[in-house]
């Protein structure tokens, strides 16, 4: 790949998110500030005030209202954008479900941050994971270029399958760290991302009520057409997620055709071909695991990395296929489903079991509340797991990396 250094800027992850929203020509931005996301919408606010971006910035009193505005604007045909983190995302929770149920292609950024209590502004992925079942597509990024590109792909995916997309990137680790990012030209983006065509027809001549009380069973409407009940609408939402499994890959392929880069679609891998030991994670941690894999390989251990890009929809078949030759899979989670385990580890294990792929799977909880994770600590964890597996000790309890208790 050739890089045009003219178009490369050294920018933060938050700035990359804002540039993507600008290039996507969003019509409406509604957001409430929260660390570490704030610079995204501060940048967009500046762009709108100075006329760089022709859009409405709607200031609101809370994240709940921010998503409410996004829902209204998207329903009326605007391309909308917002961003949040942790407590703000939690405050949006009820509206997140409305956005997905309304099948609105809203794209939002989530600069991942730990949930209270105790109070923390630092990174883990508990915030996004806690909103897993709202019906949103969730994509995780490993670096700032991928953030910019994934937002553009996010609009493409959302508007195709009619589901909202949450682009997740690690707070501070990516949101506040500068990296070289190739910022594409507006014409390139226009060619990739056609204008949004609304599917919730709004016409003063033909008024309608969107999302009325929908009873349990299908019911005839005024025209005598039997309309879906609640379950039918929810089934269609799930079908859209299944469609998204293909669309996420297509959006990435189309992106490559336009920009010369791709990110792997649902998954990406590093040194996976002959890997006996696979390190698996989502986000920047998976990027770091590539360094750990190199370190393990220098010790003669055939290690590779599987990076999860799409978490919802969960690419179960693709995960199982990618891991079919692996002997040991070591999964690192930056969040926890309390009372059970790391959510990624458990979803991976379930996917493998369903597809009758049976490597040993070990889980590690890492980096909660901003606890630093070094590549060598991932190496140590992998070594512990290798030893455990060699000794045939059976199921391994989930370990917490660098727990100082």
């Amino acid at each position: 790949m050739t890089v045009d250094t003219q178009s490369v800027s050294v920018i933060t992850g938050n700035r990359a998110a804002a540039e993507a929203a600008r290039l996507a020509r969003v019509d409406v931005v509604a957001a409430y500030p929260i660390t570490p996301q704030s610079p995204v919408v501060e940048t967009l606010s500046k762009y709108i005030e100075t006329g760089v971006l022709d859009a409405e910035f709607i200031t609101v009193e809370s994240e709940h209202s921010a998503m409410g505005v996004c829902i209204g604007a998207a329903t009326s045909g605007s391309r909308v954008f917002t961003a949040s983190s942790a407590n703000g995302l939690a405050y949006m929770c009820e509206q997140l479900s409305w956005a997905a149920g309304s099948r609105l292609p809203i794209v939002m950024g989530c600069a991942n941050r730990a949930m209270s209590a105790p109070w923390s502004v630092l990174n883990d992925q508990q915030d996004a994971m806690s909103q897993r079942d709202q019906g949103w597509i969730q994509l995780y990024c490993r670096n700032n270029q991928e953030i910019l590109d994934t937002f553009l792909q996010g609009f493409r995916i959302a508007e195709q399958v009619k589901l909202p997309v949450m682009v997740c990137y690690d707070g501070f680790i990516l949101s506040h760290t500068v990296m070289p990012v190739d910022i594409p030209e507006q014409e390139q983006v226009d060619a990739y991302l056609p204008p949004y065509s609304v599917h919730t027809i709004l016409d003063p001549e033909e008024p309608r009520n969107v999302n009325p009380v929908t009873l349990a069973n299908p019911r005839l409407n005024g025209d005598g057409v039997l309309c879906h009940g609640y379950m039918e609408f929810r089934y269609l939402m799930e079908q859209a997620h299944k469609e998204a499994l293909d669309m996420i890959v297509v959006a990435d392929e189309e992106f490559e055709a336009c920009f010369g880069r791709r990110w792997g679609g649902l998954l990406w891998s590093y040194q996976l071909e002959d890997a006996e030991v696979v390190l698996l994670a989502a986000g920047s941690l998976a990027g770091e695991a590539t360094i750990s894999a190199d370190m393990l390989r220098s010790e003669g251990i055939r290690a590779g990395v599987l990076g999860l890009r799409a978490y919802r929809p969960f690419p179960a078949a693709a995960v199982a296929d990618a891991l079919k030759e692996a002997g040991l899979v070591v999964v690192f989670d930056k969040s926890l489903s309390y009372g059970y385990d790391g959510p990624i580890r458990r979803d991976v294990q379930a996917a493998l079991f369903e597809h009758r792929v049976m490597p040993e799977v070990h889980g590690y909880i890492a980096g909660l509340g901003g606890r630093d994770i070094k590549a060598r600590e991932l190496v140590d964890a992998a070594r512990d797991s290798i030893t455990w597996a060699e000794q045939g000790k059976g199921p391994k309890p989930t370990d917490w990396i660098n727990l100082q208790l």
């Binding site: 009520n209 009325p212 409407n221 879906h228 039918e232």
Partner: protein, 111 residues
Amino acid sequence: MGQTRHCKQKTAMSWPCVGEAGRTGDWRTLRPVVDPEKCVAARKGKIVCMQCWMFCPDNVISRTAPPEIDMEYCKGCGVCVQVCPSQAIEMRPEHAEDVAASTKEEASCDR
């Protein structure tokens, strides 16, 4: 999708039209009955007053003389009774057992 296969919607929607909210008439336990001797519009044979038509929250009272109430959709809320300036409308129990119950209730209130 069997039954609802003709429904093309991804998002739940409804249009303002008669019966969009279902046959709400079967919610009713009390039925509004207009006394033509007292109703101003009925007595004059002209479209006058029309307070009941104006205030009916379900739009089931016709703008006619006399006003007619569509019992297919009237929920029996009784707003029309409250707004009628000539006390021409009264709510009567739908079923015999309701009559008995209401009589009993009145009896207990009297006591």
